[in-house]
């Protein structure tokens, strides 16, 4: 079951809690939840291309955070010389948001020395919202499907 939109809504809910003095736990969970919203969006889109629906949840388990982050780094910095620049801009929005949120989620989950503010968290959630919009603009394009494939196929160059 894929639930990226629900996760994004929950991230916003957590980020807006405690209107005067937000708790660090709420802000950290908001960052982590925003990351997982994008993580699950991309996985759901990738496995939706698999013909047998009953096998999609199992297929979704082959995706790994680090592999997706590495692939997103390559996509964010690739030239895509022959592609439509508008599509490339959307893909870069998605890939760079994934890379930023991967970094933020690691910090939010594992680095207790880092303090978060509501502005920082709302900004990163905004990146994920923009990434969702960009993804919906390109999801049927070849450039988007190539990116999905790169998320679970190892780069051997």
């Amino acid at each position: 079951m894929a639930y990226p939109d629900d996760l994004l809504e929950q991230a916003l809910h957590l980020a807006r809690r405690e209107s005067k003095r937000p708790r660090q736990t709420s802000l950290r969970r908001a960052i982590s939840t925003a990351y997982y919203a994008l993580f699950h969006l991309l996985i759901a889109e990738a496995v939706s291309n698999w013909r047998i629906p009953a096998q999609r949840p199992l297929l979704a388990r082959i995706f790994q955070h680090k592999g997706m982050n590495d692939a997103s780094g390559r996509a964010a910095s690739s030239a895509f010389a022959d592609a439509d620049p508008r599509l490339v801009a959307h893909l870069r929005n998605v890939a760079s948001a994934f890379k930023q949120l991967y970094q933020d989620r690691q910090t939010a989950d594992y680095d207790n020395a880092t303090e978060w503010s509501r502005t920082e968290v709302l900004t990163q959630i905004g990146l994920v919202q923009d990434a969702f919009a960009s993804w919906r603009a390109i999801r049927n394009q070849a450039i988007a499907n190539d990116y999905l494939l790169s998320l679970f196929v190892k780069d051997r160059q």
Binding site: N69, Q100, D104, E115, S117, T119, T123
Partner: protein, 106 residues
Amino acid sequence: MPIVPKGVTNQAALAAAIAQVEQMLAPDVVRIRYTIGPDWSGEEAIHFRILLSDAASRPRRLREVTRRVSIVISQQIDPLNSWDLVPYLRFRSQSEQAALKEAAWA
């Protein structure tokens, strides 16, 4: 053999480029602090800490301001291609920093 990023070997030029961008983005951006070091994947990165004015941090302006700052940093500094550093950006308001009092943002 590992390649030392240009952002490490030429830190004075990088600092000058960032100072120029800081001026371009005033008054919405109060100051830009940064650290160079590995990210969670071990890649060499530049971690920007961008302090916004309270006016620029208001909900109705925040998205527009942070998008513009990201674009200007990408176009004017181009951390990855010009300095071999993966960029990461975080934004905080002046009043939040006044409450949190973090030295890294001061």
